[in-house]
């Protein structure tokens, strides 16, 4: 029973890790950074509303740029 529960917990942990982090850990880290920045900007109106989407877009550009470098290396599963 305990072994089954431990196995199920391990499977769930691995599944969530693959699901949320997977091969793009930079996006998981970026999200954490965005949450922290959002709390720093709490109470602001225009500054937070402008800065938060721009930063998210910046993180996305960095991640896609990283993906671009790896993709054309001949792999059929980029």
């Amino acid at each position: 029973m305990t072994t089954s529960l431990a196995r199920a917990a391990r499977w769930l942990g691995r599944f969530l890790w693959d699901f949320l982090v997977g091969d793009t850990p930079e996006l998981a880290l970026a999200t954490g950074a965005l949450v922290a920045i959002a709390f720093i900007l709490a109470g602001s109106e225009w500054l937070g509303a402008v800065l938060l989407p721009l930063l998210a877009a910046g993180f996305l550009l960095a991640s896609t740029w990283r993906g671009r470098k790896r993709a054309p290396s001949g792999s059929t599963r980029p």
Partner: protein
């Protein structure tokens, strides 16, 4: 809650469910054709039942007991991770740096694998349930559906519209199911990559909005900021796609994706 954010919620959930269930249908049809329809349909139904229980078991307590601001930060972060990942894949695909999702190839590969299993001795029982067909259909629907469940719970809980989000998912599910039964094959004609792009844009919009809202940022125009964020992400998508197209090595290689990716 404004109608505009409800509309974006419904579209995001409907689109996400449509895409994921088309992918699941490919595996269910492959299991049905190779191992028998009874087991495949039972496997799919069992997975759907588990997913429905998950929505109620996780979603309802979240809405009732978690403070709304904390809930919005958590689900905003979750939506942002999912949305940025979907947008990243969409940009890489539309700019030619990543293979398009090919349901036909996935279907052919799954059927071949299941037929190999039959040849290797895991023969299909003439009566009763075929465990291989059941497992393939269950796994396909459960794994693809988990992403939908997360999106339904996140969007539904953050806006206190769990019922509306679940309804949008069920409508998409029924639609895919009916079309799948009528044509009795995988739906490779569905513009999956386009729908994924739209959903990625919406999830990213909601993600940024809820993270900011939960943390205490005051969005100008309140909920009307959501359609503005959608417009922002549309511009970002087209700008990044155009930028990355200039980075393609010549000649561009066309590759076929071999595995199911969420």
């Amino acid at each position: 809650m404004h109608t505009s954010s409800d509309l974006v919620l419904v579209l995001a959930v409907f689109g996400a469910c449509l895409v994921e269930m088309v992918e699941a249908l490919t595996l269910v049809v492959a299991a049905g054709v190779s191992r028998g329809w009874r087991s495949a349909l039972e496997g799919a139904a069992a997975a759907l039942a588990v997913l429905a229980v998950l929505v109620v078991a996780v979603g309802v307590p979240l809405i009732r007991y978690m403070p709304i601001d904390a809930l919005r930060v958590v689900v905003g972060a979750l939506l942002l991770v999912l949305g940025l990942n979907w947008l990243r894949k969409a940009i890489l695909r539309s700019s030619g740096h990543k293979a398009l999702h090919d349901e036909d190839a996935i279907y052919a590969e799954t059927v071949a694998e299941l037929n190999e299993d039959s040849d290797a001795g895991s023969s299909r029982p003439s009566k009763g349930r075929d465990p291989v067909g059941f497992a393939v259909a269950f796994k396909g629907v459960f794994l693809e559906g988990t992403e939908v469940v997360l999106i339904v719970i996140s969007l539904g809980a953050a806006q206190h519209r769990l019922g509306l989000a679940a309804l949008a998912a069920v409508v998409a599910l029924v639609l895919v199911g009916i079309v799948g039964i009528v044509v009795t094959r995988q739906l490779s004609e569905v513009p999956e990559n386009t729908i994924k792009t739209v959903v990625g844009i919406m999830l990213s919009s909601f993600g940024v909005f809820w993270v900011g809202e939960g943390a205490g940022i005051h969005w100008p125009g309140s909920d009307l900021a959501i359609p503005v964020l959608v417009g922002f992400w549309i511009v970002v998508y087209f700008a990044y796609t155009a930028l990355l197209r200039t980075q393609l090595p010549a000649p561009a290689e066309t590759v076929t994706e071999e595995a199911t990716t969420p």
